[in-house]
Amino acid sequence: MKVFKAAFKHELLSSLRSRSPQLVVTLFLVLISISSIIGWLTVRNVTKIYNDIVSQNLTTAPNPFKNVPSLYYMRDSVIYVVLIGSLMAIILGAQASIRDRKSNTNELIKTRNVNLVHRTLGQLSAVGSIIILLEMVALLTSFISIWIIQKTLLNNGEIFALLGYGAVSVILMIALAAIGYIFGTISKSEESSLLYPIVGWAVVTFTIPQIITSTHPVALLNPTPAVSTGTGLAQSVINGISPLAVMENFKAIANAILGIDKSLKLSMVDLLSFSFFAVIGVVASVVISSKTFGRKLDA
């Protein structure tokens, strides 16, 4: 327990004083905090254009944004979690495990009786705490922004949904931090500790949705999950790789919680794939890093 507490406190101090995590944390916080304002600006501009068109008698269709749910304004934050939040988590995790090898302080650790499981759990808990704190700040900002925009407070159900969305976002980011931690432990250089998980993230975030949607480019940056299109062999391939599309699974769960697009249904595959990814990520990081401090870094 002593090692857990020491590693936890040390990781908090180190992450807060290191420049790369500071930068990406700030970026994440700023973007996710203004996401609801961006959502509001989008609705306002589209409504203004719609009103102009209606005044010119060019359409009789109803305003597509009329009566949008309050949490609709959160839709952009889903993308920021997938893009910036994921990268932030990978960097925080990788930095946590590579720090001692990078600064050559690992000999001071290795000559002490350090329980590696406790140390890993302490470091991951600290990274998790940072992620939870950031998500709480982001949710609070969103809550206040929506309150100001709509001039009414979220009701209990919406607050519950907001918290649920925050929890799922935190789970995704902690799992990615754990994967970053694994690569920080096994990589031969700081660059490769970030490169490999980021390439993996890019494949999961961009390439797999492209295949699922048969290269429909809109899938990449949509806050809602990609809809698979294909028949025969193509559909079999899509069915095979869909569970790997963790970011799409996350989008599906977030969509179900926030109610952005009610026409999309949450499938059991999305839930199971996402849960499996989160559990495997954390367990693998503890198992792998409990065996080794990591080899000497390349010069």
Binding site: V3, A6, S103, L108, T111
Partner: protein, 246 residues
């Protein structure tokens, strides 16, 4: 094995692929001694210290620290040793206290604050308690390095080239600290060095390592007595080293 022996190595070998770093090393260090392990660069000095401090495992042979086997009882060995690596690295962005608090807790200290203050007082470094390590000179970092090594009151202290890169003032200060730890706290000190001047001024016992083999081991006084009175330790070193070539 007598209980007065702090460090003992029997037939230690260490191979890196086909290259042999240590070739049948045998040595013993009594408790309370300051042992200087001399040798050229690449002689195997750092490998020896790395094995004694449990950082690496020997390819064959046995070694004990305070009677504990370095492989079977590594945990007890780690509890009874302190280690100052060559060019010690610390967490630059943390203060002296934050560095020592973390390392003290990893050493098993429940509440290291008092012990940190005690150690820094001993090393006359208390006034720098809350300063960041990144602002320190090499000599100052070396003091923090010594502090982290002795925080948990180890019985044996391993120093790998402790004066490497220090300016003359830093060398003198570190020498005073090593003497203090040996005289006041009774620590057994094992230091690697290639500086004969340090050995003359500090060590009670010396060993000379060459190509992974210990070619000489004796007390410093006996060593000096057994050669010409006009010989400096440098002359003696080269006589022993030269004799081993024949």
């Amino acid at each position: 094995m007598t209980k007065d022996i702090a460090i003992a190595a029997r037939n230690i070998t260490k191979n890196y692929g086909e290259k042999s770093a240590l070739d049948g090393l045998n040595l013993s260090v009594n408790k309370g001694e300051i042992y200087g392990l001399l040798g050229h660069n690449g002689a195997g000095k750092t490998t020896t210290v790395s094995i004694f401090t449990t950082l690496i495992k020997p390819s064959s042979g046995e070694a004990t620290i305070n009677g504990y086997d370095i492989e079977q009882e590594a945990s007890q060995v780690r509890n009874s040793i302190g280690y100052l690596p060559e060019n010690v690295q610390l967490y630059e962005y943390l203060s002296v206290f934050e560095n020592l608090e973390y390392l003290g807790k990893l050493s098993g200290l429940k509440n290291p604050r008092n012990r940190i203050l005690e150690v820094l007082d001993l090393l006359e470094f208390k006034s720098h308690l809350h300063e960041k390590v990144s602002t320190f000179s090499k000599g100052m970092k070396q003091r923090v390095g010594v502090a982290q090594a002795i925080l948990h009151s180890p019985e044996v202290l391993f120093l790998d080239e402790p004066t490497s890169g220090l300016d003359p003032e830093g060398v003198i200060q570190l020498r005073e600290i090593i003497s203090l730890l040996n005289n006041e706290l009774g620590m057994t000190i094992f230091m690697n060095t290639h500086l004969l001047s340090e050995v003359t001024k500090l060590c009670t016992q010396i060993g000379i390592l060459k190509n992974g083999k210990l070619i000489y081991e004796n007390s410093l006084s006996s060593t000096i007595d057994s050669f010409d009175k006009t010989d400096s330790l440098e002359d003696i070193y080269f006589k022993i080293d030269g004799a081993s070539k024949r």
